[in-house]
Amino acid sequence: MKILVCISKTPDTTAKIAFTDNNTKYDANGVQWIINPYDEWYALVRAIELKEADASHAIHLISVGNADAEPILRKALALGGDEAIRVNIDSDDAYVIATQIATVVKDGGYDLILTGKETIDHNGSSLGGMVAEMLDLPYISLATKLEMDGSVAKATREIDGGQELDEVATPVVISAQKGMAEARIPNMRGIMAARTKPLKVVEPAACEALTATVSFEMPPAKAGVKLVAPDQVEELVRLLREEAKIV
């Protein structure tokens, strides 16, 4: 089975969020890029586990982005990916990114396409569904478990108010979240091997952006905390009722 894991780069979770150019661009100055946690901890590690159970699987990685994505693709190779593809276009339009991924999926004949639940910078949660629709494939979103039974994927996923166990024949797109696997760190052998694994750069398929980011803004600052003494909980209840008017 050919597995494609979609890897996006995202600022380190502790990175300071700031904007430049009159608040129209994210200030990436000095930012440490990491693999989007959902893509790494859940989608990629689960793919690696599937390959550990059945060595005939191939794990390819794709990242749509500029050269900043290469170190994180190397890290994903060090964790256990076999080959990486970078589509050389920097876009914040989901339709453009999905078009690139769908093109690679179609040309590469992948059976299982794994994405993370969402990117922690764009917070789109849309890429998986878009790729699936472009290729008219089924999509299982927010999976917490995934087993393969030949060409049938068995996935448990979160639904509003509960969980569901689904079965679907490949090819299929699945988005991964917490529960699917446990985070790993690459070992020395993996890091050495990654240096010589193929990382192919391909030019993007032509596609027009359907959206454009106009500006960013920061949420309004908090006024500051009002402290209540621990033996005055009634006062807190009063404040919540009369001042905040919520309980």
């Binding site: 946690p37 917070n123 569904g129 509003d160 917490k178 952006a209 803004e217 905390v225 909980v233 919520i246």
Partner: protein, 314 residues
């Protein structure tokens, strides 16, 4: 016209659906066009009542008894095309997310997910959405004639008025590729993202055996339960309660954080809450900087007292 997809869970129209209907109707007013709703599957309430939220017509596609994103998106996109909808809105719920993405591709419509406010239509069509896991907002221009938006739960207040919608039921059948083998409901009726009040606790609670007092506080407030990541990692609490940058992102009216330090990754999932109360024995805990109200004290003493005070005042 504006087409609004109203989610239902097992036949019940959700609060987030009413939010999205109110929101879609308001967009219609902005653009000077009417809003209609679409519901897929059987519903155990009278759909004409959705007229109270401002929709003139409800299109009900009867037949499908389980949700299937691939099949439902075709139905919704076809309806949008038939009705010549200029904006299609969804709730950014678990089901809504999957549909919005697929429908936007079918309609080749620009998509903004996780919207937090009405679009700005003074120059073009610009939608504000939450980005960087709640740490910032982005204003996104949709450049296509047809637009698709998914609205964050709890971002828009439901408005009820008078009115009765015209319900048009059409039977449809679908052949889902995905086979649902089984499903189970998790405890509690409210999903975490829909809860107006959330009581959350962290490692300061020492162990799962101490969650009784957290549950009691949540009960008096009819609140949803959440926890920090290490708590879910240690299996003290189920995974779906984990909030934060790598867990669920929530925006309740009130978030009560007990024994949680307030790490940046935790705050990322909760900082859109309207009011934050922090109970922590360490006055230096970073969470106090993000809080509206705080008590510096031992949770084991404060929480039962708070529960009692809320009960007494009720």
């Amino acid at each position: 016209m504006i087409l609004i997809y109203a989610d239902n869970i097992n036949g019940t129209i959700k609060k987030s659906s009413l939010e999205v209907i109110t929101y879609g109707v308001a967009i219609g007013k902005q653009l000077g066009t009417e809003a209609q709703a679409i519901v897929v599957g059987a519903v155990n309430s009278d759909l004409s009542e959705l007229g109270k939220y401002g929709v003139s017509t409800v299109h009900q596609l009867t037949g499908p008894d389980t949700f299937d994103a691939q099949a439902f998106s075709k139905l919704i996109a076809d309806k949008a095309t038939e009705l010549d909808a200029s904006v299609v809105v969804f709730s950014h719920s678990l089901m809504g997310k999957a549909l919005a993405a697929r429908v936007s591709v079918r309609l080749k419509a620009g998509l903004v997910t996780g919207a937090v406010a009405l679009p700005d239509t003074t120059s073009g069509f610009v939608v504000k959405k939450s980005v960087f896991s709640g740490k910032a907002f982005a204003n996104i221009r949709i450049q296509t004639p047809v637009k698709v938006i998914s609205l964050n739960p709890n971002a828009y207040t439901v408005a009820v008025g008078e009115g009765e919608a015209n319900v048009m039921a059409t039977p449809v059948s679908i052949q889902p590729a995905v086979k649902v083998i089984s499903n189970s409901k998790s405890s509690g009726d409210r999903t975490l993202t829909e809860s107006e009040i959330v009581v959350s606790a962290g490692r300061g609670m020492k162990g799962p055996e101490n969650w009784g007092m957290i549950e009691e506080l949540a009960d008096v407030l009819q609140a949803g339960l959440a926890c920090s990541r290490p708590v879910a990692d240690a299996h003290w609490r189920p995974h779906h309660e984990h909030v934060g940058q790598t867990g669920v992102a929530i925006a309740p009216n009130l978030y009560i954080a007990i024994g949680i330090s307030g790490a940046i990754q935790h705050l990322a999932g909760v900082n859109r809450s309207k009011v934050i109360v922090v109970i922590n024995k360490d006055p230096e805990a970073p969470f106090f900087k993000a809080a509206d109200y705080g008590i510096v004290g031992d949770a084991f003493e404060v929480v039962p007292k708070l529960t009692a005070a809320l009960k007494a005042g009720a």
